[in-house]
Symmetry: C2
Subunit: 222 residues, 2 copies
């Protein structure tokens, strides 16, 4: 299996769930997780408007009433899903600036971990779910995609420090970080999100990371 994050939530296989969590789960809690898993599938597949509570309940093999016992409304359930998915990415790859290590090495690590994040099925699911709604719901847009910009924050700080340290040309650190991530996402995020393009292979990922660092340093190295 793939997902190493919050294994409980993303596991669709209830038997596995039960066996791995011992007998700790009461039936009520199990149902709750079934509902969350089914809701995630339903929303992912049909979007917020397209999703139906009946279909969702059937998916979870649970009475619709039970769904409403756990979540008072469709919207609240939706926000729970989004929140939950968001939380699983709190572990923002906090890149630390090391004055002694080579810039290329540090940047390559940043690029690789960003690609790693973009590669995770989980992360793309979150985006597929939210982005459609974000366009028409600014509130959700900011609350959610703030999270997405979190490791951008980290990179921005890193760049700023490297500039202060005289190892990068002085420039707008925020803008530079945007460029760095833009280079990556142009190949490893947007095309996969909107067209159904396959995600880059391991070799392609390496090329993307290498070339991003190469280009970035060609421009900014002091």
């Amino acid at each position: 299996m793939k997902s190493k994050l919050n294994s409980v939530v993303f596991t669709h296989d209830s038997i596995l769930l039960l066996s791995s969590m011992e007998k700790a789960l009461t039936l009520t809690e199990k149902k709750r997780l079934d509902i969350l898993a089914a809701a995630q599938d339903e929303f992912k597949e049909k979007g917020f408007l397209g999703a139906s509570m009946d279909s969702l309940a059937k998916r979870a093999e649970v009475s619709k009433r039970t769904v409403y016992n756990h979540f008072p409304s469709k919207e609240i359930l939706f926000h729970n899903i989004v929140k939950e998915l968001c939380d699983s990415f709190r572990q923002a790859a906090n890149i630390q600036y090391h004055p002694n290590k080579p810039l290329g090495e540090q940047l390559h690590f940043a690029a690789t971990s960003e690609i790693q994040l973009l590669a995770s099925e989980c992360f793309r699911d979150l985006n597929r779910i939210t982005i459609s709604e974000c366009i028409r719901s600014p509130e959700l847009a900011s609350s959610t995609l703030d999270h997405l910009g979190q490791q951008k924050e980290g990179l921005h700080v890193w760049i700023h420090e490297a500039m202060k340290d005289g190892r990068l040309k002085t420039a707008d650190a925020h803008f530079a970080a945007q460029q760095f991530l833009g280079l990556i996402k142009a190949s490893a995020f947007w095309p996969q999100l909107f067209m159904n393009q396959a995600f880059p292979s391991a070799e392609q990922q390496k090329i993307i990371a290498d070339d991003t660092v190469l280009m970035f340093l060609a421009r900014y190295k002091a």
Copy 2:
């Protein structure tokens, strides 16, 4: 002055058309344009699923029956809107490679015209309308976003020629074009589309174009 019956079928800009020709339009044609304009607003505002044919008809100040006289179904109407918007971007900025002009100048032109395109309210409308649906409809995704990739094609060819000419380092031209556009869109497209970020001012646009070219040439100039 009389107008041929079907000369108006494909519309460029409905509002402009209406105000400039006014009397020349037969009532049927005017209604048709009213419907298209209203549909554009409705879809833009609520998306495909959220849009309602009743609300749309009211917006167009037209009987719902009339809507269905012109367009047999909601889906067909939607595709008409998308097609119409697409057609208004047929003028793909076809960048031509000039062996004698400086690379920076030519690239700067490409960057500027790309930003120009991304800046147009029209173009962002098209994307806002389609992208949400593209995620769940691969068919629409390819048919529509092919268009978006058209000027990318142009750039890719340009880069290829410059490489053959020995003025750029030999590399994957398609990948390089993707990088070039990624640099631009990271600042002037995606943030505006999903968050409601304001579009860059004229000065900011210049900075983006300058810096994109700078970075690209730092990496690829032979």
